[in-house]
Amino acid sequence: MPAATLSIPPHAEHVRTARLVAVAAARRAGLAEDVIDDVRLAVGEVVARAVLRHAALGIERDVDLVIRDDGHAFMVEVSSEPASPETSIDGDADDGVALALVQALVPEVGVTPGTVALAWPLAVIPA
């Protein structure tokens, strides 16, 4: 069962809310404080990218977060409008930095159309 499900409108001011919820769930999952810092930043980056993409394309749809802790991993799934020929945008340099951060901070990153899944295996994390 998800630890929390959050939907936010695609505006920059709501990205902080996504970070707050992810951090609260990560703390509940028992992640160490420095890993929680990584969760805060990585989730913030992915949600910010999704929100900016919606904003750039005039997509009103919410950005959705599903946060899970299945005992093996702490997972955050961010869903937004899937890229299509009409909804694809050229990323700028910021996007590159954001993706580099996400790749550096998150043990497992899964990207499918419309969804970025971030996972922190619980076994390898010192309690």
Binding site: A12, E13, V15, R16, R19, D34, D37, R40, L41, G44, E45, A48, V51, L52, A93, D94, V97, A98, A100, L101, A104, L105
Partner: protein, 113 residues
Amino acid sequence: MDLDVSTREEGQHVVVVAIGEVDVFTAPTLDAELGRLIADGRTDLVVDLSRVDFLDSTGLSVIVKALARVRAVDGSISVVITADRVAKVFRITGLDALIPLYASVAEAVATSD
């Protein structure tokens, strides 16, 4: 607002003090202040992030943009960081090699003269 930005003079330098979180929503506030200073010819800048508890890639890119602008006119920019959480963002992206990071404003002002 989740970010307050103020400035003060320290000798040749302008110290830009940010308090709060620098993220996709608030970074434009810092960007505007740095842009205003540089446009005014103030190009020896110390960005004091010692009271910033969160900074994302948008915040980084604001600082990189300011760096490019001050360098073009022989200015300087240095950054004061105390939180490990914030330092980590500079380290991962390799920005710590481009921008001098200090543990206090006094150090930043003394060294980057």
